[in-house]
């Protein structure tokens, strides 16, 4: 199994397509960071314009932590599309190239084959998130320094003490990994039906875009179905930046306002991952390889 996983990773990282995601993330983060280095204060004033009049902050508002938060809000909606590029190609890509039949004439079981493939796409997803964390968090910390993190919620501002931020990012990235793995599992599942790469990649992207729109629109009809869409739970990494406050409205260090939301969302996402991968196994083990 370990050897099979090694082979799958070797194949993934030998394909030029794999690096498109890393390059796209690098370019996007780089451009935004450059923009914020040049005009970051104007941007913050524009975004927080009204509340800034009744709020005084003694420190550096535009710091690495805030920049990372801005980047994650922009990026984590689009990263699923990059995940789909690899995960939705895992089985269908082999069928398309004609290598699937050669792989499956080797003395490896279909279960092993699928597990190795999914684990490889999970590792790719993990590496992509590590790369995002490196660029968005560590590079931003280097470029903008660190200070208390002030973020604007719908009706209020939250000021997280500088020492209370890093663990929240660790949790947020961990949660984001679960979200992205659910996308990878969906892509993997759709990949088992097709014999070309484009179909499942586009289908995965379409499902994510469609569900995300339904998940975020505050229309009563959509709100009824939102609990049943896994994309609704994917954005709950933000809960890590919603702390409890005491009677003086001061943040309680190390606290989460609604930890149950994070736990519920994580469980829902894990169930989706298991469900998609399990369904792929059931379908693929019975499938006649005609490609």
């Amino acid at each position: 199994m370990y050897k099979l996983l090694q082979i799958e990773l070797y194949k993934i990282f030998k394909r030029p397509r794999t690096y498109i995601s890393f390059l796209a993330i690098t370019a996007l983060v780089g451009v935004i960071q450059l923009g914020l280095v040049k005009n970051g204060d104007d941007y913050v004033n524009f975004v927080m314009g009204n509340v800034m009049q009744s709020f005084s902050f003694d420190g550096k508002l535009l710091n690495g932590y805030l920049v990372c938060y801005i980047l994650l809000q922009l990026l984590l909606v689009h990263v699923p599309l990059l995940i789909a590029l690899v995960a939705a190609d895992m089985i269908s890509g082999e069928a398309n190239m004609g290598t699937l039949r050669l792989m499956l004439t080797k003395p490896i079981s279909r279960t092993q084959f699928l597990m190795a493939k999914f684990l490889a796409s999970a590792i790719y997803t993990f590496m992509l998130l590590v790369w995002i964390a490196f660029l968005a968090l560590f590079v931003s910390m280097f470029l903008f320094g660190v200070d208390d993190m002030v973020i604007q919620k719908t009706n209020y501002l939250v000021q997280l003490p500088v020492d209370d931020v890093f663990w929240r990012y660790t949790g947020a990235f961990g949660f984001a990994l679960l979200s992205m793995l659910s996308v990878a599992a969906l892509g993997f599942f759709l990949s088992s039906f097709a014999e070309n790469s484009i179909g499942p990649i586009v289908a995965t992207m379409s499902v994510i875009i469609f569900f995300t729109i339904l998940s975020t629109m505050s229309i009563p009809l959509f709100q009824k179905i939102q609990p049943f869409l896994f994309t609704t739970y994917m954005v709950n990494w933000k809960e890590f930046f919603d702390p409890k406050v005491n009677a003086d409205n001061a943040v309680i260090v190390g606290s989460l306002h609604k930890p149950e939301r994070i736990i519920t969302s994580a469980i829902v996402l894990i169930f989706h991952i298991i469900g998609f991968v399990g369904a792929t196994m059931v379908i693929f083990k019975r499938k006649d390889i005609l490609s």
Binding site: Y10, L102, P107, I108, I289
Partner: protein, 311 residues
């Protein structure tokens, strides 16, 4: 004789279409087993079932005396196959492809093993080149190299000469003969080209519409009295005139192309050769062969498809 493949009452249906219909056959150790049928006859479906790519609707497959379903991994360790096109990872080099599939076959991979394999199929000098740059013939040879890298006892080649030029076809034919005679491998080779199979197979199975038409030793299936000799001379029309005036005239066959054809008993072939020399006919080529096409006509009723099959 020890059987390597034993197929009993194998049937495969796809949504109402019966691709393989109650097929039974046995391949013995050391056989070069020719698997013949026109396109769509069920050859590839059968081969895919032998390799567990397709699940049979009914029937039983035993390889090396073991049930394929129950002992899949154990069996596949001893099998090397090229199924239809020899598709490999085009973005990897020939070396990387051989190495990767050797690891999947469960063997210890060394540089020498991979290079020896590439040497055997004539690709050692292109070992580091990515497969995307290879011709069809080179890909075919690489596919065969991959199929053989783990030293399998049974080799299954599905249409191995597809897309190859005459030299490529001859290379594959020689490789099959070498694997059989020098290395004692059991080989199943499928084709719709009768002439190809005829030259390598010790035993034959002919299927049509998923059903077995005939199975047996190649030399027993052909009547020696139906041997065809194809002759090419420096002046075919003059040679034909001379033959028409000789005792061989009753054996002349309608011409296909420019060459002269005669049908005679295999034992009379040397006499014909001598006769041509005595008539001072300048022979460029003299090729006796079994009349497999006629054999097909005997065992199938549909002339039209047999014609398509043999062309």
């Amino acid at each position: 004789m020890q059987s390597v493949i034993k197929v009993s009452n194998l049937t495969k249906q796809f949504k109402g279409l019966t691709a393989v219909n109650d097929l039974s056959f046995t391949v013995n150790k050391g056989d070069v087993y020719g698997f013949l049928g026109q396109n769509g006859a069920g050859k590839s479906t059968t081969i895919r079932m032998l390799l567990t790519l397709i699940a049979p609707t009914s029937g039983n497959i035993e390889l090396f005396g073991m049930n394929l379903k129950k002992h899949r991994s154990e069996i596949l360790r001893q099998v090397g196959a090229v199924v239809e096109k020899p598709d490999v990872y085009k973005y990897l080099s020939a070396y990387e492809n051989v190495s990767l599939f050797a690891k999947l076959s469960g063997i210890t991979v060394t540089n020498k093993l991979v290079m020896d394999q590439l040497e055997m199929v004539g690709l050692a000098s292109r070992a580091k080149d990515i497969v995307k740059t290879f011709s069809q013939g080179m890909k075919q040879r690489l596919g065969i190299g991959i199929a053989l890298v783990h030293n399998p006892q049974l080799i299954i080649l599905d249409e191995p000469t597809n897309g190859l030029d005459p030299q490529g076809i001859a290379d594959i034919r020689n490789l099959i003969l070498r694997l059989s005679k020098d290395m004692g491998k059991t080989i199943v080779v499928s084709s719709h080209l009768l002439s190809e199979i005829e030259q390598v197979a010790s035993r034959l199975l002919i299927i049509d519409k998923g059903k077995k038409l005939v199975e047996g030793n190649a030399h027993e299936l052909f009547d020696p009295a139906q041997t065809i000799v194809e002759i090419e001379t420096t002046n075919n029309s003059l040679a034909l005139q001379q033959l028409q005036q000789s005792n061989w005239r009753n054996l002349l066959q309608p011409q296909r192309g420019q060459n002269i054809l005669l049908k005679l008993h295999r034992n009379d072939v040397p006499a014909l050769h001598r006769g041509l020399v005595e008539m001072n006919v300048e022979v460029i080529s003299f090729q006796p062969r079994h009349n497999l096409e006629d054999f097909f006509l005997q065992i199938t009723s549909n002339n039209q498809h047999v014609q398509a099959f043999t062309n």
